[in-house]
């Protein structure tokens, strides 16, 4: 009797199929559930404290009710812009080297190993390292060094972005089919140009995802900023001075003994998550607009 005609076998097959599908659905729910739970809880705790003042005012002195986190929102934006400026080009450049030019060389293996180790370094250690290198030592000729500053915070976050960006860029470039590289070489395109204009461009959706992952990760980092950006209760966008940041502000407010500050910390956490999601979505939207019909 052919296998397909056996009713018991086909019953078993159907049960197995449903079980596996059910397990996959369950896993998906378990993945999404914490995210939804966190979001709902943040809205529950924080939404009530959100008002115009939160986005336009700086913190009030201890004892006064009200005030906002405008300086921390702007401060986070400054820090993240500086971090991206450092982390993304270096990370992508390193990834290109690993995948295209240094494949199999000792240097490439060393860089790959270092990047993986760097990825596992606790963020507090990164903060201490940045403190030792930039904050506590003044390097002559290099401005912004020798004291707490937005610059030091941006550098600490930027360095944290490098390994993620570097390794995802490498992985994404290696996924570009060999045929596409050959096509470029066959047209007499110089190698460096083919790497930038063809291979990197073909891999760009994945590379952008890597950059966004790194961005979102450092956007919520507090530890590296404690020793570098320090925090600031006043308006400042000066790279040379301590700067406020949302995670720092949340940290300070959450540890304070004041109920009003606790409420503001919840609101800050909600705003931080919303802003990260908004930034990532915006980048996704902007980069997907140029994609052509049928492009893979």
């Amino acid at each position: 009797m052919p296998l397909s005609g056996n009713p018991i076998r086909s019953k078993i097959r159907a049960v197995t199929d449903n079980t596996v599908t059910g397990l996959a659905v369950l896993a998906t729910v378990l993945v999404i559930a914490p995210l939804v739970a966190i979001f709902v809880y943040l809205i529950y705790k924080g939404a009530a404290s959100l008002n115009l003042d939160f986005f336009t005012k700086i913190p009030k002195p201890v004892g006064e009710v009200g005030g906002g986190m405008a300086n921390a929102i702007v401060g986070s934006a400054v820090l993240l812009a500086l971090a991206s400026l450092i982390g993304i080009p270096i990370g992508i450049g390193g990834g290109i080297y690993l995948a295209e030019f240094g494949r199999g060389t000792k240097l490439a293996n060393a860089i790959r190993f270092t990047a993986d180790v760097l990825n596992g370094v606790p963020s507090i250690v990164m903060g201490v390292a940045a403190y030792a290198l930039i904050v506590s030592t003044h390097i002559s000729l290099i401005p912004f060094t020798g004291h707490f500053s937005a610059f030091a915070g941006g550098v600490a976050l930027g360095i944290m972005m490098i390994p993620t960006v570097c390794r995802t860029t490498e992985e994404m470039l290696l996924m570009v089919p060999h045929a596409v590289r050959e096509a470029a070489l066959g047209l007499g395109v110089p190698n460096w140009r083919s790497v930038l204009a063809i291979t990197l461009r073909t891999a760009s959706p994945g590379v952008i995802t890597g950059c966004m992952l790194a961005f979102a990760r450092v956007a919520g980092e507090t530890a590296p900023l404690i020793f570098t950006a320090l925090g600031n209760s006043f308006w400042s966008v000066d790279l040379n001075r301590p700067i406020a940041a949302l995670p720092l502000q949340i940290y300070v407010y959450a540890l304070s003994p004041y109920d009003d500050w606790h409420r503001l910390a919840w609101a800050g956490a909600l705003v931080l998550i919303v802003l990260i999601v908004a930034a990532v979505s915006l980048v996704r939207y902007v980069t997907s607009r140029g994609v052509l019909k049928g492009a893979s």
Binding site: E182, S204, G294
Partner: protein, 252 residues
Amino acid sequence: MGVGIEVTNLNAWYGSNHTLQDINLHIPANHATALIGPSGCGKSTFVRCLNRMHETNPIARVTGQVKVGDMDIYEDAKPVEIRRRIGMVFQRPNPFPTMSIYDNVASGLKLNGYSNKRVLDEIVEKSLRNSALWDEVKDDLKKKSGASLSGGQQQRLCIARALAVDPEVLLMDEPASALDPVSTSKIEDLIFELKSQYTIVIVTHNMQQAARVAEKTGFFLNGRMVEFDSTHKIFTNPSDKRTEDYITGRFG
């Protein structure tokens, strides 16, 4: 216009594997030359030696002389220059997936620094007409990705892309082996048209294809060229027993 190719004592290796042994051959200008033989006989390696693609593999090595027209490609020029003069079409269509149809065709010129828009427009249209694709894609030139086309259209797009840089020689490595019969016959018609302007070297597994498009045919076996003659002679009265065995289907 196409130019002839003179190959003298060509040897090629992949690592310690001696894949081409003492190839001597004259490929005539403005004709189509077919290379046939069983899988792994070295015919693909041979065409990849003609535009120095072979050496892009780090373990590959080549000795001998290849003259394209007056130019000794292993002595007189850089690989990049040679590949601009000798176009290549690969077995599987490989359009640049993120580029529009227009940009795919223009890519060879644009990536080599050419940017005059009017001239590019003209070249793109001419190349797509030459590859018999113009009528099918003229309305979506900049709207659709090269990867959105069917397999046969993609391969003609790749031919257009190779033609746009105005090469003297067109190398085709089994250009129709991944295509359906209708697309295959379109590609063959195209080769027939193109050989008045270009020297064409086509590797094929399909002996009828060789018989249909090529004036000259070479038979490769185990890294050596067994016989090279007019296509008619190879298919009706080969001088070597092994060629006869192969074309009559006794092995390979």
